[in-house]
């Protein structure tokens, strides 16, 4: 800990701070633009980072990672387009808030929650990165399977009151995720002779189509001149401060969820934000508000999303195992500076390691300042007439899908998924659960197949699972989440019925 102060002092160089500020702006733009991911931004900046040297270069990459993950919330709130898969639950309440003329409130809530989550995650990285790195090794395939199941329990929360149709939608997502190579055996299945499908359905173009394209088509069909009213709310920050104070437990819980899930290699930010969102709804006094514009839903999703930024670096820094692609690229940067990641990092290159950790704290404060002014620019999108915005979004989707996959196949995937999303919206089937299935499907499948293989040497699958305490705990969490979701659903329906009866009376 005492090495953290010199780490901060290393960052006091004006050039480093300026580069970090520019990286924050770039990260927000990349995160906001559909199709562009944090991985893409970090990899593009690798040669530049190398030119700046280890402290400035790594600080720049950390700043881009932090800002890009937050940037996904902007398009999720304004255009119902999650810029990154981890901002998927942000769209569930963010876009309804935009429709209600509360875009500013939603965007600021996302910013504050992201910063608080990011700071919490970084503190976790600094204080407990050694025990957390060891904990991440205890997660095996069964645990990942049940973790994905826990994420899927959120289906009830995002089904817009249509649980059966929500489950159908989630299963469609899980089915689409099956296309391509089996994640364990490598067998090619469900391609129906279409060669490009061997590589499977890419998540980013699929999400772009599902949310953005279908939304753009709805914008073009709608009679109104603008997608949502542009309004400046009275006493916005007073309301937000009250909400933040009331929601401290949601912010804390979501940050813990994000930090814990972030350390698990391969889990990713999407599962963290989905579970945090579901937990926020489960424990809320007004669960019926979720999915209709609850600011708590945005806070939960964004706090978890940004908390996992720092904690996802734990396995890479502690064990030399990159937990996700972002961490792998940053690990590449460390190695290019001649620094070996792993436990030796803190003994051999502790000055750089602590300067990097300190830079993640500074990045969050820079994000708060820069993001604060960029929110004002973001909400101006609502002033664009819908007959200009709709086609513009379609063009952006097409270029974004191409940029995400470097092939026209990605554009067709986006188009196909857009069509599916559009038809589902038309026939009244919620599209959120489909996205959930699509994101969590590969994790669940890999976990189940590997668990079944591992259980072959045991007397039964049950005894194999019973011998794993983390799996047992996750099963209990799944059951609690499932029954709580069904209970909340029933209570919400009863409250709606009562409200209608009172309205009629």
């Amino acid at each position: 800990m005492e090495l953290l102060l010199p780490g901060f002092l290393d960052l006091l160089d004006p050039q480093t701070l300026l580069i970090m500020a520019l990286a924050i702006v770039g990260g927000i733009v990349v995160g906001t633009l559909p199709g562009l991911s944090s991985v893409m931004a970090i990899s593009l900046m690798l040669p530049i980072a190398y030119a700046f040297g280890p402290v400035t270069g790594l600080s720049m990459l950390g700043a881009i990672y932090t800002a890009a993950l937050y940037g996904g919330a902007n398009s999720a709130i304004i255009l119902n387009t999650p810029g990154t898969p981890s901002s998927l639950p942000t769209a569930f309440d963010g876009f309804p808030m935009t429709k209600q003329g509360k875009a500013n409130q939603a965007l600021y809530a996302a910013l504050f929650a992201s910063v608080l989550g990011g700071l919490f995650g970084t503190m976790v990285l600094i204080v407990a990165f050694e025990p957390l790195a060891n904990l991440s090794l205890k997660f095996g395939p069964p645990e990942f399977f049940f973790l994905a199941c826990l994420g899927l329990c959120a289906v009830a929360a995002i089904s817009e009151g249509k649980v059966l149709r929500g489950l159908l939608s989630a299963c469609i997502g899980l089915l689409i995720a099956l296309i391509g190579q089996d994640p364990v055996s490598g067998d090619v299945r469900f391609t129906f002779g279409i060669y490009p499908l061997i590589s499977g359905i890419e998540v980013i173009p699929a999400l772009l189509g599902l949310f953005s394209l279908s939304q753009a088509m709805k914008i073009l069909e709608a009679k109104g001149s603008h997608i949502a009213p542009y309004a400046s709310e009275i006493n916005l920050f007073g309301k937000l401060e009250k909400k933040l104070r009331q929601s401290w437990s949601i912010l804390l819980r979501s940050s813990i969820i994000g930090s814990v899930i972030g350390i698990l290699p391969g889990a990713g930010g999407a599962i963290a934000s989905i579970i945090a969102y579901n937990e926020a709804r489960r424990t809320s006094k007004e669960p019926g508000k979720f999915g209709k514009g609850a600011v708590e839903g945005i806070m939960a999703s964004e706090a978890a999303n940004n908390a996992q930024v720092s904690s996802s670096l734990v396995p890479m820094m502690g064990l030399g195992i990159p937990g996700n692609v972002n961490a792998a690229v940053i690990m590449g940067a460390l190695m290019s500076f001649g620094i070996q990641p792993g436990m030796g990092l803190l003994t051999n290159s502790s000055d750089i390691a602590y300067a990097f950790m300190a830079s993640l704290i500074v990045s969050n404060f820079l994000l708060l300042g820069i993001g604060f002014y960029m929110v004002k620019l973001t909400t101006r999108v609502l002033l664009i007439p819908s007959n200009y915005l709709g086609p513009g979004v379609i063009a952006l989707c097409i270029v974004g899908a191409y940029a995400a996959t470097y092939s026209v196949y990605g554009v067709w995937v986006m188009f196909g998924m857009g069509l599916v999303g559009y038809l589902m919206l038309k026939v009244g089937i919620p599209i959120g659960p489909l996205a959930l299935g699509l994101v969590l499907g590969p994790i669940a499948e890999k976990g189940l197949a590997q668990s079944l293989q591992m259980a072959e040497s045991e007397s039964s699958l049950l005894s194999f699972i019973l011998a794993r305490p983390i799996s047992m705990a996750l099963i209990v969490f799944c059951l609690v989440a499932l029954f709580a979701a069904l209970y909340v659903e029933k209570k919400t329906q009863q409250a709606e019925l009562l409200r209608k009866e009172q309205g009629n009376g």
């Binding site: 733009v29 990349v30 633009l33 562009l36 893409m40 593009l44 059966l164 149709r165 489950l167 159908l168 299963c171 469609i172 899980l174 089915l175 099956l178 089996d182 364990v184 055996s185 067998d187 299945r189 469900f190 129906f192 394209l213 088509m217 073009l220 069909e221 007959n387 200009y388 709709g390 086609p391 513009g392 379609i394 063009a395 952006l396 097409i398 270029v399 974004g400 191409y402 940029a403 470097y406 026209v408 554009v411 067709w412 188009f415 857009g418 069509l419 559009y422 038809l423 589902m424 038309k426 026939v427 009244g428 089937i429 669940a444 499948e445 189940l448 197949a449 079944l452 293989q453 072959e456």
Partner: protein
Amino acid sequence: MGKLQIYSSDVFIILVAAIAIAFRSQTAGTHEPFDAYPKLITGALILLSFACVIQTRFSEGYKRSESTVSSVTKSAVLVIGIAIYIVSLSTIGYFVSSTFYLIIMFHSKRIGKADEFLETKPIIADFLISIAIVLSIALVFKFALNLVFPDSLLF
């Protein structure tokens, strides 16, 4: 019960069930235990499809929005327009196809408005806005981030 009616949601759900059956028939070729998960998903999807169709029929809570001929035509034109845009992107290139697509889409909202349609002023404005959008996207994706655009025959 009244007379049996088929709704658009029924057609969509039955189509989903048919796709799930097609997927399930393909699981026969996969090895154990790797077929367990696909069988679980396809089975669940088939069961849920039928449950949804039954629920739609018996539940009073579901309101069915009926599509008019004009709205279906509008949707079809939108979908075909996007498909043509994607095809033209890899033939005539991003700049030309995007500019034309955007102008047509901007102007499509004026169809049926005699006082606005084919007026010179809005067409020039649409042209300038479409050029601005096309160049802005190219500036960010192609020139600032150095990402490749689809190969095309023209540009």
